[in-house]
Symmetry: C2
Subunit: 564 residues, 2 copies
Amino acid sequence: MAQVQRMSRLMVKTLRDDPADAETLSHKLLVRAGYVRRTSAGIWTWLPLGKKVLENVARVVREEMDAIGGQEVLLPALLPREPYDASGRWDEYGDLLFRVKDRKGADYLLGPTHEEIFTQIVKDQCSSYKDLPVILYQIQTKYRDEARPRSGVLRGREFQMKDSYSFDTTDEGLVESYGLHREAYQKIFARLGLDYRIVSAVSGAMGGSASEEFLAPAAAGEDTFVDCPACDYAANTEAVTFALTPVEGVEHGPVEELDTPDTPTIETLAEHLGVPASATLKNLLVKVDGEIVAVGVPGDREVDLGKLGEHLAPAVVELVTAEDFVGRADLVRGYVGPQGLDKVRYIADPRVAPGTAWITGANKADKHARNVVCGRDFEVDDYLDVVVVEEGDPCPACGTGLKMDRAIEIGHIFQLGRKYADTFQLDVLGQNGKPVRVTMGSYGIGVSRAVAALAEQSADSQGLCWPREVAPADVHVVAAGKALQTELALDVSEKLGAAGVRVLVDDRAGVSPGVKFTDSELIGVPQILVAGRRSAEGVLELKDRRTGEREELTVAEAIARLTA
Amino acid sequence: MAQVQRMSRLMVKTLRDDPADAETLSHKLLVRAGYVRRTSAGIWTWLPLGKKVLENVARVVREEMDAIGGQEVLLPALLPREPYDASGRWDEYGDLLFRVKDRKGADYLLGPTHEEIFTQIVKDQCSSYKDLPVILYQIQTKYRDEARPRSGVLRGREFQMKDSYSFDTTDEGLVESYGLHREAYQKIFARLGLDYRIVSAVSGAMGGSASEEFLAPAAAGEDTFVDCPACDYAANTEAVTFALTPVEGVEHGPVEELDTPDTPTIETLAEHLGVPASATLKNLLVKVDGEIVAVGVPGDREVDLGKLGEHLAPAVVELVTAEDFVGRADLVRGYVGPQGLDKVRYIADPRVAPGTAWITGANKADKHARNVVCGRDFEVDDYLDVVVVEEGDPCPACGTGLKMDRAIEIGHIFQLGRKYADTFQLDVLGQNGKPVRVTMGSYGIGVSRAVAALAEQSADSQGLCWPREVAPADVHVVAAGKALQTELALDVSEKLGAAGVRVLVDDRAGVSPGVKFTDSELIGVPQILVAGRRSAEGVLELKDRRTGEREELTVAEAIARLTA
């Protein structure tokens, strides 16, 4: 017997107008349809309808996590500082971390993710290879003090997340646990009715090896990703790679010095010489752990300092300042060229391939040089993908020009390796009687964010439109208004409820049929059953919320259809 | 198809010894049996078995809350300061409140209870009497920075609670909502298998009128309550009342002054005069909002300053200091008697009834007075129950001597009235078109605490012993060890699971039968099914965990019995 929710008693207040501060579709509609309510910046209350959707998403996640042998636990959100000091994340998280002092002045934090604590638990509970592999998960409240919390529940400061962690004794075991999660996530997002892509990702602050993100394409998304229109390649923009292809058999003339006064930028230089910016080589100087390093990219491309930082982590990357040039005659500010940088490590984009010729700084004030050839006039110490990816860049898989799209990150799977196991010395006794260091994976699904992503993807101009598995009800029964219609609506609702159908019935008195219809479109239950004109004959109208298709049915037919 | 949990894969590590810091039975056993693990002082992780029990308790609570029309919502735990400033609780909670600053320096708190926020939500969502009554609830994480977190999950600093709030337009409506909760709580605790009493309670820091507590008697309880062995009266010690019974027809002699040097205490006075302490009248001076007030109680009783404070709230009660006697010739320190206190308000315990005679201070140094009669020689301004209740005090209902017991508070129901509605001006449009101030109730169940209370009440010397509704499984199948036994155990487990029985099966290899039996007793699943000696014949032994009764059954019989 499923629940019949009567709107006359349900706390749901729909709004005709978008909230003033709402920018995204899901934010507007979830507020207008009475699913969520803002309590503070980035901190939300889930009202009765919203709580049902949130719970439905959590149920699907739970079922699929159980199916891969995941064991559900519940960790605290208020966590002691010490393990996060040990891992370095107490500091690394910076302002993103909510920090708390207790009455004795001891430091705590509100957990943004729980690698440290799970590692400690497994260290405490598992002592032998026989105790592994193990997959632990929780669906729990997480905290991140976002600088600009916005987009409603899409990016909150308090949010619901499923996080899980795998513990294995071998690398192969980790790959298997990762694979189990990957499949579980595919099932979860398919059941939720989300359109999604799996993209290669860089590791971010987590530090580790293989990592993929599950992205739900949506205009409101805060992530940009590249998508190949020709093959199935998709990737986080930070993870796109460009093949290093040496240019062979091309003869270049000798290096030639050019007078280039008043050309402080690539644009002015290209204009002065009448060449495209792509013919020039841009050399950015940075400090890596205090040492000056030059980074070369084609003049028409931008260096992605975030990507550079990721590549060089844990080394710290900073921009140079005027002071760094003091006593460095080899570094002529604005006129740096790699052919004169013997004492400086030179990192370059793969586009700066051996055999390519460039216009670049001549290492003299007001001078540039032409025909500076990579491999002949200078050497690249390290090739790294550090340029900002652009629409039309070649697909690493098939070479087709890439498309760029916006998406919501709804899941992330990640082979952490032994980073945390090393920190906490998590060993178990191996088969040979010797200690084995454990290897870990960490896997997340944004449960509250998935609700927003679903709202974004499934809404239309009338309002929300949920897939059945997550909808707050299976059918929205609308009593057009007259006593007879209300009677029929309640009768059919009762019968549907008894048959296991989850019913939301609009039995409100004193509300016009027009308002009720508008509300039913806004609330977005997938089937709408109206007790209207032909109620006296016992005939109802069933409307598909998505397609708008309508059909007249008797009570018995409606029940047969909705229980099918 | 219910889940079959294989212990070979389940993260559960039992301990032979009690944790060093554990004082209470539930703390010891929940840790030893692998249900919970301490993460920090008063902050706990729920391991797989514990999470199941916690979830079972939550499910029962949810079902019964839904049955009374409660609507489930989910509020944030991280709350803005402003509403708690408005109610005064930001300060009133003192050190009990975890306070947090965000990256911009704005003040937040970790919610200990959510009256303020629910009031704001209803103000936002409900505008007419037609929208009420409404009952909202959540099962959510709460925070209290206890000075001495202890007793495991019985009194944590982060804990799970069901809190609900009723909103009505009339006092009768509030009484009805309160009654619905009272009945729902009775059903919940009965289903959970908890032994409990409903006791009258004083309101504590909440401020309001009717209030009852649900107490689970247990040695580990931190609450003391009184229980009548003759009738069904039970009460919080602070709520016990004593009837005022004037004494009539007794003639007392005239007031007589006594020399009583060196009698600074009631004990020395009683000894000096050769009378019981109960014949003397103790007069405690306090300041109420700065004004000196005297409180009279029999010499053998103690004044409960907490109770006095509750009675006089919101006035502030303080003890007097030497400075308060300056310039007050009427107040002779150590020799105060009510017969000389014309300028001082006199509050007395009902035992100081009209017609009773006392030995009390003579308002002169080193002098006491005998035959000081209430109603003849002094008047009582207010009778208040302010003495500490003692074992043997008469039952207010039947007069029998009361017993005092320890208990765990597992629930609290409370008619808040209009306190918060006044603070936030929560009005709805009444039937007559005029605004009506809303009246509220607030109701709590300690969900994680109920797990501890169940452990306390149901455990025996062998370990935990759960009622079936909350147990982590319906049956614990033990494979004694040989291949044949494991095969039979897994086969019967599979069949039981398919029949909807929740199974925990101990299929661990290399663990002795003795250890498995001991673990099964410790873990406390109500039925234990052993594949042992007669496995070759397909015969198992079913043992009732509580009674220890054993019975041999075939596989078919075991399935029939366990699905009955």
